[in-house]
């Protein structure tokens, strides 16, 4: 009953509930998120990536089966997004709405999308969030894996190749979705993801694991200026 408990309007079903963050009046900024203050940010001691560009949420049906998530992602695909990187404050039109990219640092291992949307008076239920970041690797690394957790379903691309697909309503669990073994290029590596939420809390986390399934540190994050 998690969703019902988070609902501000009693009596809605989870799939029908359209409780949005904008229903509250005063919206203090979330303390878990800050604006980047440096050009680069290293991954943390456990390898978690804490700097992201996050696009304001796009309404989607919010169904979380495999086919529904595929449809949601396709319907919210940003033209040309796999070939270019967005910039902070860049505005795009998606599904007849203007939405803005935000550069964010998270103080936690995860990035709380509810914290992101709520102060902006944006919906958090039945939405899709696009996120992206650039991971700089000091050398080419083979046999690594992208390891993510997401609430809820998600699709992930690394350097343009789709590597992870999670479906269904789910909590963010560290190293829930893990890619097959892949290669981190020396220099920039671009991660893109779409997180689809049905209702309630929504967040994600991501890091890389080495060939022994241990977190990779020593990577740094930079965003397009």
């Amino acid at each position: 009953m998690r969703r019902v408990l988070t609902a501000l309007v009693l009596g809605c079903t989870a799939s029908m509930c359209t409780v949005h963050a904008e229903q509250a009046a005063t919206r203090p900024a979330a303390t878990s998120l800050t604006r980047p203050k440096s050009a680069t940010l290293p991954v943390d001691a456990r390898g978690f990536i804490r700097r992201w560009l996050v696009l304001e949420p796009v309404p989607v049906p919010g169904m979380l089966t495999e086919s529904a998530v595929e449809e949601a992602v396709q319907s919210a695909m940003i033209p040309g997004s796999m070939d270019s990187l967005p910039r902070d404050s860049e505005v795009v039109t998606l599904r007849n709405s203007s939405v803005t990219w935000h550069a964010l640092d998270t103080v936690n291992y995860n990035l709380n999308l509810y914290h992101f949307a709520w102060p902006l008076s944006k919906p958090t239920s039945n939405v899709l969030f696009w996120v992206t970041t650039t991971v700089d690797s000091p050398r080419e690394m083979h046999g690594v894996r992208l390891a993510i957790g997401s609430n809820a379903a998600s699709r992930w691309w690394l350097n343009g190749e789709r590597v992870i697909a999670l479906n269904d309503d789910r909590q963010t669990v560290v190293d829930d979705g893990v890619s097959r073994r892949t290669t981190l290029r020396k220099g920039p590596n671009v991660i893109r993801a779409a997180i689809v939420n049905g209702g309630g809390a929504t967040d994600f986390c991501a890091r890389f694991l080495d060939e022994n399934d241990q977190p990779i540190t020593g990577l740094s994050i930079s965003l397009p200026r």
Binding site: M16, E66, A147, L166, D175, R180, R181, D213
Partner: protein, 497 residues
């Protein structure tokens, strides 16, 4: 062992859960691995030898004493005991192998003789056995019957111990010299550690010494009441108490293995430690009803629970879920699942008044692959997901005839029930499901670990000799990685769906 049983070689067809090949034996020694093969020696003329290249398929390989002058016990052994050769045990100490064997006369007059060799491989130019003389004996009057040796090399201090005895009085313990295999101090009296049992052997585990013995009667086929009992002690010299605190010197002994199903009368425990949390034990059954009631060798998983050894059983062919010990999620084809019973509307929580009272309906039938697999691709990825009793989560595990095996079990195929989509390893160490071809990457070794979970490994991975095991690298992602006995990643529960 109270009577001599003539061992007869026999060949049997592969079965779902028992060893394969020529496995007729009585009173087998501890199964020992050497030079890539497995060996055991049993009661019979000259101590018959069974050997296996993989621990699953066995063959007769003559007798051990054929390598001795006269093919019989040495004169000092014959003087203390008699010209019979029963119930041996074998151990490797450094570069030597010691075989201890029973040489009874008219019981309880008997002796335990020693043979010393440097290889177990009869094809080796170094293969020979030297008579080490009698190690212990019983004079026919004392409360002892010096047969059924069992030997332990204490992993904590390197000391070597021999237990022996059979029904006429006590199970006794003496210390041996690891350099020679003989008594360390013949003047020191043996220590009595149990009574009225036989086939004793000590093992060490996690701060305890365990004494395993066989109770009941042997050698009368399906009427045999053989069963294996265990007690434990903090010191090798005892006292060995069972789970009720009863001393094995007063008849105590927790049941470790009794008759089960069509295998009657287990006896003569031997530990086969394969490392990395995999332990197995060798035994014989007095009567295997599936093999005409003869006595046969078996190798089964050894588990540990609350400080006591538990006799594991063979994995039965059947349909299961494969649940990750790391996450509780189960292995499935990466296809869109269909709820069992079909899609149903979300239950109202009362938008317009109270929700309707739920009414029980008829049972919902299990989901079969034929119900939902029409659009599944022929080759699919593998992933982990919450158990939902859906068809893409139900795996049929079945032995593969003629594919060989490993200690105690054959290789298995793991296939989505009702389909030909079989789990396989890819050249890059990942997993797919595709039509079964019998290729090594589709054959699976399934070892039960000492905690009851399983390690699941492909027989081979294309393009590499590396040995990898099924691993939950993420909550939703399985892969193949090196086995780490300290991690739950590669531990799996095989459960009825």
């Amino acid at each position: 062992m109270r009577a001599l049983l003539l061992c007869v070689a026999a060949t049997f067809a592969l079965r779902a859960h028992a060893l394969d090949g020529e496995i007729a034996i009585h009173d087998p020694s501890t199964v020992i691995a050497s030079g890539g093969r497995y060996y055991t020696y049993g009661t019979g003329n000259g101590l018959p030898v069974l050997v296996s290249d993989d621990g699953w398929t066995w063959r007769r390989a003559g007798s051990l004493m054929s390598a001795l002058p006269g093919a019989k016990p040495g004169p000092d052994v014959l003087a203390r005991g008699g010209n019979n050769t029963w119930a041996p045990d074998v151990i490797r100490v450094g570069e030597k192998f010691y075989v201890y064997y029973s040489a009874p006369a008219t019981q309880p007059r008997a002796a335990i003789g020693l043979l010393v060799g440097r290889t177990l491989d009869p094809a080796s130019p170094e293969y020979k056995w030297e008579d080490g003389g009698p190690v212990v004996w019983s004079d026919g009057i004392e409360d002892s019957n010096a047969i059924d040796p069992g030997v332990l090399l204490d992993p904590t201090d390197g000391r070597l111990w021999l237990t022996y005895g059979s029904y006429f009085g006590y199970i006794r313990l003496v210390e041996l010299d690891p350099k020679t295999g003989k008594r360390r101090d013949g003047r020191r009296a043996p220590v009595n550690i149990a009574v009225n049992a036989e086939a004793s052997v000590l093992i060490y585990h996690d701060g305890w010494y365990y004494l395993l013995v066989t109770h009941g009667s042997c050698c009368v086929g399906a009427s045999s009441t053989y069963n294996i009992r265990v007690g434990r002690a903090r010191r090798v010299t005892g006292p060995y108490l069972d789970n009720m605190g009863i001393d094995m010197l007063e008849g105590g002994g927790k049941l470790f293995a009794g008759s089960r199903g069509r295998q009657i009368g287990p006896g003569h425990f031997g530990l086969l430690d394969l490392g990395e949390g995999v332990q197995k034990f060798s035994i014989h059954y007095e009567a295997d009803l599936d093999r005409g009631g003869i006595s046969v060798l078996d190798i089964r998983p050894l588990l540990w629970q609350d400080g006591w050894p538990i006799a594991g059983t063979h994995l039965e062919a059947g349909t299961y879920t494969l649940e990750s010990a790391r996450t509780g999620t189960v292995l499935e084809l990466a296809v869109q699942g269909t709820p069992v019973g079909g899609l149903r509307p979300r239950r109202s929580v009362g938008v317009n008044g109270p929700p309707p009272e739920p009414r029980p309906g008829p049972p919902i039938a299990d989901q079969e692959a034929t119900d939902v697999a029409a659009n599944w691709p022929a080759i699919t990825d593998i992933r982990l997901a919450p158990a939902m009793l859906q068809a893409q989560q139900k795996w049929t595990i079945a032995p593969v005839s003629g594919a060989g095996g490993y200690p105690g079990a054959p290789y298995f195929r793991i296939t989505i029930a009702g389909t030909e989509r079989s789990l396989g390893a890819t050249a890059d160490g990942e997993l797919i499901a595709s039509a079964f071809t019998g290729a090594p990457e589709q054959l699976w070794r399934i070892d039960q670990l000492t905690d009851g979970s399983y390690r699941i490994s492909p027989k081979a991975i294309p393009g590499t000799n590396e040995s990898l095991a099924l691993s939950a690298v993420g909550s939703s992602m399985p892969t193949l990685t090196r086995f780490d006995p300290s991690s739950d990643r590669q531990r799996w529960f095989i459960r009825a769906p």
